[in-house]
Amino acid sequence: MSTILSFLTRTRGTTRLSTTDVLTYLYLTIGTIIMFGPVIWLVLSSFKTPTGLIRFPPTILPYQQETIIVEGYDDPLEVYDVRFEDGSTRRLAQIRRVGIEAQMIDPAAPDDVIRVNIDQRTPVESIVFAAENYTEGVSRFNFGRYFWNSVVVTIAATALTLVVNSMAAFALSKYQFRGRNAIFLLTLSTLMIPLSVILIPVFLVITQIGWNNNLLGVIVPGAATPTGVFLLRQYMLTIPDELLDSARIDGASEWRIYLQIILPLARPALAVLAIFSIMWRWNDFLWPLIVLSRTEYFTLQVGLNSFQGELQVQWNLILAMTVLTLLPITAVFAFLQKYITTGIATTGMK
């Protein structure tokens, strides 16, 4: 026993686990369940059939009662294990239920109807992943269209944000010009204003330009992010001016300096901004909801929301579609995880 314990508490070094270590792992394990459990539950639930979903208390895995097609009956019959008074059990199919009595037949001998008390039967179940939630959802929900719109918005907006913000940050960090401080302070002061507060006037501006029901109306307004300008400027300030001066002596134009010196050196900050922008745009809800009213322009989030309104009780489809919207952002996170965790820490907040 003590050897098992010492094996379990062995850490990479020679020291044994201390109480603090045990508490740490306990905390992290409980934390993992709380942080990730709900998402796992969503994924598991998305594979359940409508009848599986309304079961209470819910099962963890998607169980489904087995059915059997018996000659002489149109619908598939539900299969039960029935325990008789003499202690024997038989696997029977149920024809119908009347009160507390169920009429069953043996699939092998479908002619004899056996009447049993409903307490005697237990349903025969197997784990079935209801993939039809996904296939049916995708066809009814117009997933392809919404997905495409979301991809277009996310990529175009992120590209635009990176270009526009990095140019502005370059100017604000590397040049002395009149109005520089005014522009920078203006940017800073709007850092904290949520879009939802100026929703009505922005809507008015969009309407005047004629960008209602146009993906441009979703892409462009959010591109001049104060956060992005601020983050990139702070990072570019750390690039030494001597580099720029020596490039100028070598005859490089300002654009060449921006493209070939500043951008490559600011790569970590650009990566952080890119990740944030992808996250913001993919998950953005309120803004597309207001700009886009025709379904062919809907993004995934807006589509998902209206899907919930349309099909109030069809949780199986809603859950499956929610899982699909999670996949791309999860994939991006998995690939760029290193940048996110180190990037926020080193460039984001200093």
């Binding site: 929703l199 009505i200 493209l259």
Partner: protein, 343 residues
């Protein structure tokens, strides 16, 4: 775009690299040739205006202009959307918001929902920020220890940050509904079903817990970075001097983490004041007005109520912007003092 992702470059053979580089080089030459006359005309320093221009145009049209328009909405009345069709009413909108018999009782106000929203927001902000900071700090300290699976745990705690407000609300509604998993566990342990989503007190608490769930990963990461910047020699020296864990936490960790903590505190404050979409998708502001916050008041007054009172909504948003500006100023001050100190 290819420049943002070095892992791809590292994995790919030299040929791809060379092609990408030569395409980029060609692109640079084209831009260079196009922009050269401009630079000759303006001079090096004034090129800054060209660089700042695209951002400034978008910023001006979609942020500055709307903010000015919003201001004009706050001082005009009527239900027309176009500013030139709205009559000037002075401070009427503000007067209506502040028309209260007794400021401690929302029922005596003509705009009682506004004051309820102010009250709800205040309670939410204080409780949520306090809980968020404490739990993020504990998590960051746990993740900062020498543990196995560190990267895994770090990702797990960050993951909910990636989820959209709609999805967060949906996940939790699904868990907390009448026949959901949580009630399932309670009933199988012999308890009674809890009406999580129908009870005002539960809704208030859950909104706080869920927003902490969704955002804490972000703050944990910032705090973790702060913890990692504390030199480990300090702890070694302290333990040699016989300091225990609590002592070194109080005399090393807390003081050296203060600048990071203040950033986290202010960011969390601002986010909490702005809370909207996730709460809206989760409770819709209910039951009743139990979870109606300021941004939702603005949204529903201006956008979704039967009579769209743009003026009233704008006035409320000017008040909110004032509060946010105050927090920003505090942050700038705190940052300044923080920078001269530990950084």
């Amino acid at each position: 775009m290819t420049r943002v992702a070095p892992p791809l470059q590292r994995a790919s053979p030299n040929l791809v690299n060379r092609v990408v580089n030569s395409i980029f080089e060609g692109f640079v030459s084209v831009i260079d040739r196009l922009m050269h006359p401009l630079q000759n005309m303006l001079g090096v320093n004034r090129m800054a205006y060209i660089f700042v221009l695209p951002n400034l145009i978008i910023f001006g049209v979609f942020i500055m202009l709307p903010m000015i328009l919003n201001f004009s909405y706050a001082f005009t009345g009527g239900t027309n959307l176009f500013p030139n069709e709205r009559p000037f009413v002075g401070l009427d909108n503000f007067a209506k918001l502040f028309a209260c018999g007794n400021f401690l009782d929302a029922n005596t106000c003509s705009e009682d929902v506004f004051w309820r929203a102010v009250g709800n927001t205040s309670v939410f902000v204080v409780a949520q920020v306090a809980f968020m900071v404490v739990i993020s700090l504990i998590t960051a300290m746990a993740l900062n220890r020498k543990i196995i699976l560190r990267g895994f745990f770090r990702s797990v705690f960050f993951y909910p940050v990636l989820l959209s407000p709609v999805v967060v609300a949906l996940i939790w509604k699904w868990l907390l509904q009448r026949d959901g998993l949580l009630n399932g566990i309670i009933v199988s342990l012999g308890g009674e079903r809890v009406p999580f989503l129908l009870d005002a007190d539960w809704a208030r608490v859950l909104v706080i817990l869920i927003s902490v769930w969704a955002q804490m990963g972000f703050f944990t990461l910032i705090l973790l970075a702060g913890l990692q910047s504390i030199p480990s020699e300090l702890y070694e020296a302290a333990s040699m001097d016989g300091a225990n864990g609590v002592q070194s936490f109080r005399s090393i960790t807390l003081p050296l983490l203060m600048p990071t903590m203040s950033v986290v505190l202010v960011l969390a404050l601002i986010r909490a004041v702005q809370a909207f979409d996730q709460v809206f998708a989760f409770t819709g502001g209910g039951p009743g007005t139990a979870t109606t916050y300021m941004v939702q008041y603005i949204y529903s007054t201006g956008f979704s109520n039967q009579t769209r009172e743009y003026g009233l909504a704008a006035a409320a948003s000017v008040i909110l912007a004032g509060a946010l500006l105050l927090f920003t100023l505090i942050q700038i001050r705190v940052n300044r003092s923080g920078n001269s100190g530990a950084y």
